[in-house]
Subunit: 270 residues, 2 copies
């Protein structure tokens, strides 16, 4: 058995029946039996957030769309939740706050069954906070101390479906280059991936393909010749780095995560 | 005779007597006779903008600080302006709108005397708009068409003291990575240099050294393996690029513009 596809979305994907990104998830979900689970734990308004996805997937043709009502660690350990997830073909993790996902689900029975089912082929998608949670390390928050100052970045532990990369989302739209570059300067072995809104990467067998409207940016610090991080008095960082590699990809292009190169043969018809 | 130093400032430099950046300019200005000229043409409030610099340079010890009152192409061709500039040791170009500098001064007698004097050793500094104008090509404006959309970038022609690079300013503070990357994707032979506020590069003999509080980011597209620019219906751009190089530098580090590498021996005491 191979692990299932991961569809990692930069947030604000079109939630209509002709949206590229959700269509890709819908098509992937059909490869297994059981229907789609919506996991809205990141959100403080889970019912509102879930209902949009339930409607869209119903319209697309999924008969069984189940909201996984998990708002506490108790619920994340509950046997009915574990049983429901076991029966699903695919899970969609909504946006919200990635810290809530980590705090409520990390290390629970739900966490374990998600890993187990994913390894057996379950498709898992996540958008915004649900995208950041996919990797082992994630950016939890970045704050500007003052108007003219630099970033202070807080990292956290995600679900770890992917090692050796950090996902950032709403990337161009929220101008998050600086915070991703800082994260990679601190972890140069790890690939930094910044996904724009209404854009996604589909990860399978160590390769990702870009789907959707905008760009995906890749920061590769492994090639670095020099890194120096100076911490200013206020906790912000100033970087001196040399020889990082930079790539951006659009719809249809793929990136090989093992050799860290764009695959230039563009796939058509996807 | 060698050309004079260029001090290119990312805007918002400290305007007190102990500000690093203006001190460097003051020290350089002393190598020639004649005092400092302030060129506030980029600004629509030239008197206000100039007076701060006049005060600061007076306090630092420059006896002759002259405001070059040039608000039209007629004034930029006037013989008294040309004579005044001929007598100066150094010129400081203030912030404002870089288009005004290009439109009012480009191709005039003032433009010519600035080039002539610079080639003979005059020190020229520019901040914000005055920084962008230093290179042959400059980013004039970048606008977001809609909240969730990408950039539409307008380029212009600067004074051209430097070829083969594009300067952007207020770089981290205004999150301008995307617009500089787009400019370099369109001109991959040219080096993109993004200078943060209260930070400057001192250019001399094909090398720049960083001075000041924050970072300077360098985008080098010459190493690219692939570039594709897709124009969306609304005129915005989506990039697929492969193998760009990325560097950031802080105070005391230098960059060799010819081989496009950081010079890792850090200079002390500057």
């Amino acid at each position: 058995m191979n692990p299932g596809e991961l569809l990692i979305i930069g947030g604000a994907e079109e939630k209509c029946v002709d949206g590229d990104v959700l269509n890709v998830f819908f098509e992937l979900s059909k490869k297994n039996q059981g229907g789609i689970g919506i996991l809205p734990t990141a959100s403080k308004i889970p019912d509102e957030v879930s209902s949009v996805y339930v409607k869209t997937f119903n319209k697309l043709g999924t008969e069984r769309v189940i909201v996984l009502d998990v708002d506490s660690r108790d619920r994340a350990d509950a046997s009915d939740i574990v049983e429901t997830v076991s029966s699903l073909s695919a899970v969609f993790i909504t946006g919200g706050d990635q810290s809530r996902l980590a705090e409520i689900i990390g290390g629970t029975k739900l966490y374990s069954i998600l890993h187990e089912k994913w390894k057996a082929g379950m498709v898992i998608a996540g958008t915004s906070a649900g995208a950041s949670i996919m990797a082992r390390q994630m950016i939890v928050a970045a704050s500007m101390k003052q108007d003219d100052d630099k970033l202070d970045i807080e990292m956290g532990t995600g679900f770890g479906f992917l090692d050796n990369l950090i996902i950032d989302q709403h990337f161009s739209q929220r101008a998050r280059f600086d915070r991703l570059l800082s994260a990679i300067a601190e972890n140069p072995e790890i690939i930094g991936i910044g996904i724009d809104e209404n854009t996604a990467i589909l990860v399978k067998d160590g390769v990702f393909e870009v789907i959707g409207e905008h760009q995906v940016l890749v920061i590769d610090g492994k090639s670095n010749e020099f890194i120096e991080i100076k911490e200013a008095e206020n906790g912000s960082e100033e970087l001196t780095i040399s020889g990082f590699h930079l790539h951006t990809l659009t719809h249809g292009y793929s990136f090989d995560l093992s050799n860290r190169k764009i695959i230039l043969k563009k796939e058509n018809g996807k």
